[in-house]
């Protein structure tokens, strides 16, 4: 190859990388930045689109009912965090710092809420403690419809999220510190308070903020079990869907954005410190045998795990019951969705289609995007911008992003408004909603690949897309599968963002649950939720099987 033609080749390479990055930046601006901007601008406009400054915010503060919701949201979210984080900490401690039997099983059990829409636990609570609940008497006359139900259901929904953070934090322990403490003859409780707890404190802070944000922005649970108890998320829904008061909806959305942004910033600080905590020379902690400790922790995990399974199981069981609680015979009638919802099984199929498309397009965009950001050289400013956009959705709750989409896609001036209510918008919104975690997964994977692969390829005059196809992508198959499954499961279970965006032909299963529950068809709602849970779990199991297969077949090179 002559130097001259090589010049052109390489220029083409830089040009291709820049063009792809520019295209990606455009897509992400459209998917993430513009909807957020629409939300921001809507909050300072009146219904005619004129700028009114902070008038909407003033009106919000002057409306007592709305302020009550704000306060309700704050104390409920705080209470859930206070309940969930200590329980999750102890559970995580049992999983990482004991030799209790069945740790893998308990981890799997604790993850089950992730495979269901958040409102599934609310439906279960209605069956247990509701007007016809078999344990209604346990509430001593209090009603499950209201803060009690919200707190309990949110606790279940948030438990796996807090647990994952705390397990990670507790795993990052330097075994040497414990050996030193033991050599110095330190008491167990002192070791716990001087080594274990400080080591996990960043994880604890992070978990508290994550739980708080999850609760305050969750829509499904307060909708199903909140009764007359108003919170911010249900306010936003009422303002937008009920009263068509977009401006006030935008204000509520912005208020919801604040704790999420705060949590995001705290988490970033925490991440930085957490990394610095563990030196490269640290030795993993190996718990010693201690029958008494293991027994106590096992008992605790059995109780918590039992409650989680019970919450899931109640809804599933109830979905097969003829008439709760009077006629407990088996029936499949509740799965005859056409009797409860005009869409019938169509909603479920729409959900599958939406989740499938989200997984395919989302994975393709996320992984290619992460590669361009991480492994190409041209246009550093553009790469930084794309990375920023990719990290942004982490700080934006689904409900808020959904509101942004409503304002953006619904706007009469927007030629894209023909997409309103279509599957396209639902997929775009869901990809944007879950972009960050997928992006981080991809970047983490790519960072593990030798940075010199691209240098070697350049020296051999092989363009980067060839190396991407022949080397990077095959090596990264497990991470790509992870991303696809993550997107699929979340697309299946999400409620909060899509509730504003579905159209007459694109109602999703998770929305059908909300509607059937609203009409009083709780058993059908439970049945639909059961379908989602089983589908999500089947996909996860398929993923595990496929992962094994991929490792066996295509990743022969990993073995020695």
């Amino acid at each position: 190859m002559s130097a001259n033609s090589a010049f052109l080749t390489r220029d083409r390479e830089a040009w291709v990388a820049t063009a792809l990055l520019a295209g990606l930046a455009f897509v992400l601006v459209l998917l993430i930045a513009v909807p957020l901007w629409s939300l921001l601008s809507k909050s300072v406009q009146n219904s005619n689109g004129q700028f009114v400054g902070l008038a909407n915010f003033a009106r919000y503060i002057a409306t007592p009912a709305l302020v009550v919701s704000l306060w309700n949201s704050i104390w409920v979210s705080g209470l859930v965090a206070l309940i969930v984080v200590p329980l999750a900490f102890l559970y995580a401690y049992a999983l990482t710092r004991s030799r209790m039997p069945g740790r893998g099983l308990f981890m799997a059990v604790a993850m089950t809420p992730l495979f269901a829409p958040s409102l599934l636990s609310a439906i279960s609570l209605i069956y247990i403690f509701g007007n016809q609940g078999f344990l209604k008497s346990w509430l001593f006359g209090a009603s499950i419809y209201g803060p009690v139900g919200i707190v309990l259901a949110e606790a279940v929904y948030c438990f796996p999220h807090a647990l994952m953070i705390l397990v990670t934090a507790l795993r990052l322990a330097d075994g040497r510190l414990y050996e030193v403490a033991e050599a110095l003859d330190t008491s167990k409780s002192r070791v716990f308070f001087t080594v274990t707890l400080p080591g996990a404190r960043y994880g604890l802070i992070s978990a508290i903020f994550v739980v708080f944000t999850l609760v305050i922005t969750d829509f499904g649970i307060p909708k199903v079990i909140g009764g007359q108890f108003n919170v911010l998320a249900t306010d936003a829904y009422k303002q937008i869907v009920g009263q068509q008061n977009f401006e006030m909806g935008a204000v509520v959305g912005l208020i919801l954005l604040l704790p999420a942004i705060f949590a995001f910033l705290v988490d970033r600080q925490v991440q930085k410190k957490q990394v610095a905590l563990l030196s490269a020379r640290a030795v993993p902690y190996e718990p010693k045998a201690n029958a008494r400790r293991d027994f106590i922790l096992l008992a605790f995990c059995l109780v918590i795990g039992g409650l989680l399974i019970g919450m899931l199981g109640t809804a599933i069981w109830a979905s097969f019951i003829r008439y709760w609680p009077y006629n407990l015979t088996f029936t499949l009638n509740n799965y005859n969705f056409a009797n409860f919802d005009p869409q019938g099984w169509g909603a479920y199929l729409t959900s599958l289609k939406m989740a499938g498309l989200t997984a395919i397009f989302g994975t393709a965009i996320v992984f290619t995007g992460a590669y361009l950001v991480e492994k190409t050289k041209p246009a550093p400013a553009l790469r930084g911008f794309v990375h920023f956009l990719a990290m942004l959705p982490m700080a934006v709750p689904g409900l808020v992003l959904g509101l942004g989409y409503v304002f953006f896609v619904n706007a009469p001036w927007n030629p894209l408004n023909i997409f309103y209510g279509t599957l396209t918008v639902l997929v775009a919104n869901t990809v944007a909603h879950f972009y960050t975690v997928a992006h981080i997964t991809a970047v983490t994977q790519l960072k593990q690949i030798d940075a010199e692969f691209e240098s070697v390829s350049a020296s051999l005059k092989v363009p980067f897309w060839m190396t991407f196809r022949r080397v990077t992508l095959p090596i990264s198959t497990p991470a790509v599968l992870d991303i696809a499954v993550y997107l699929f499961v979340n697309a299946l279970t999400t409620v909060s963002a899509v509730i504003f965006l579905y159209g007459p032909t694109t109602k999703l299963a998770s929305i059908a649950i909300v509607h059937m529950d609203e009409m009083g068809a709780v058993a059908a709602a439970a049945a639909m939720a059961t379908c989602i849970v089983f589908t999500a779990m089947a996909v996860k199991l398929l993923h595990l099987a496929l992962d094994r297969l991929v490792f066996a077949r295509y990743q022969a090179w990993r073995k020695r």
Partner: protein
């Protein structure tokens, strides 16, 4: 290999045959200047080592030559053609990294053929070239294996074969031996040198290991803090270091602070040492004298030039020789290192505490300007 047919003999090559020419090259990372106006000529077929401590800019210079990290200013020309702004793929080089950077999901053969496949050559031609290269690096029967199934030394040979596959005019080696065991490193050192001689490919190797540089390079470029301290053959760099840094980094050297007195006299403490002529230093100027430990001789009589009465304070056994730490007598005693060959040691049976007469031959004393921060050694 077509590119390297014209290997010139050992005779000094004319400067106009310059293969790679670097002019006032600088590279900054924000405030930090990694390279400060580097000028360097490399001749065709030469084996050059960039030697220096970590952070001296040697890898930055190599990556600038490759085009992987663009310089901030200055020019690079290859075969008389300016490639300063050319992308790596337009520069005609092969590169080997410390990490091997072998593609883990491709077999050894596919790794070696990676650059050939892209040239759209017939399959048989590529296959023949791959076996030729694998035979060249001594791995003829490993073609079907994956990199993870090979030892470190084998992986580095595959990386070498891959870099040579497209017959590049320039071979760049970035600390290629640093990740290997000591024994494998020694063997591969010889093999790379032999291969380079055979192919005649112009080669630049970056290393922080002075022994590696001395044993492999035809010329060594010693770098420190982004500047070239000295360029020369291994013999020149070792025996006639231009700066105290070079003297200290390449081989071991004891430094003594002194003041220039006469034409060829330096006062160190209360001793006056005769040195070979030291031009460029004014009388009364502060200087440093450098002395290699192996240049110190032990004699019987104190009569004569540069003979000092000293005492052995410590003996360190280093296999084939013993390093003695010597301390002079007087108010501000000199401290010197002296290497004694093992046989001398056996004959004389020196012991710590013993008084000796050390001769510091004037021809072995090198004079450098005093450094602002004189390191406390030995």
């Amino acid at each position: 290999m077509p590119n390297h047919a014209a290997m010139t003999s050992e005779a000094p090559r004319a400067p106009e045959r310059s293969f790679l020419s670097i002019r006032s090259l600088t590279k900054s990372f924000g405030q930090f200047q990694a390279l400060k106006s580097i000028d360097l000529e490399i001749r065709e077929g030469e084996f050059v080592c960039f030697l220096g401590p970590s952070g001296c800019g040697k890898t930055t210079l190599l990556r600038a030559i490759a085009g992987l990290d663009r310089q901030s200013s200055g020019n690079i020309s290859l075969r008389g053609k300016d490639v300063s702004n050319a992308p790596p793929s337009a520069r005609d080089f092969g590169i080997v990294f410390q990490s091997y950077a072998l593609f883990p999901n491709l077999t050894v053969a596919d790794n070696v053929g990676y650059g050939l496949v892209n040239q759209k050559k017939p399959r048989e031609v590529i296959a023949a070239r791959i076996s030729e290269l694998l035979a060249l690096v001594g791995l003829p029967d490993q073609a079907g294996k994956y990199p993870a199934q090979l030892s470190g030394g084998q992986q580095q040979r595959v990386a070498l074969a891959r870099a040579l596959a497209t017959s590049p005019g320039l071979l760049l080696l970035d600390e290629p031996l640093s990740a290997l065991d000591a024994r494998v490193r020694l063997r591969l050192r010889e093999e790379i040198r032999a291969l380079q001689r055979r192919l005649g490919v112009t080669t630049i190797m970056v290393t922080h290991d002075q022994e590696e540089a001395l044993s492999m390079a035809e010329r060594i470029v010693v770098m420190n803090h982004g500047v070239i301290e000295q360029v020369g053959t291994p013999e020149e760099v070792y025996a006639r270091p231009k700066t105290a840094f070079v003297a200290d980094f390449v081989g071991r050297m004891t430094f003594l602070s002194g003041v220039r007195e006469g034409q060829a006299l330096v006062r160190v403490g209360d001793q006056a040492l005769r040195v070979a002529d030291a031009p460029g230093f004014a009388p009364g100027e502060k200087v440093e004298i450098g002395l290699r430990p192996e240049a110190v001789r032990f004699t019987e009589s104190a009569a004569g030039e540069n003979r000092l009465a000293m005492r052995i304070t410590d003996l360190e056994y280093l296999g084939s020789f013993v390093r003695a730490k010597l301390q002079g007598e007087g108010a501000s005693p000199l401290i010197l290192l002296a290497d004694l060959p093992f046989n001398v040691m056996q004959d004389r049976a020196y012991e710590p505490g013993q008084a000796v007469i050390a001769e510091l031959p004037a021809s072995a004393l090198r004079i450098f300007p005093a450094r602002p921060f004189f390191p406390a050694r030995p």
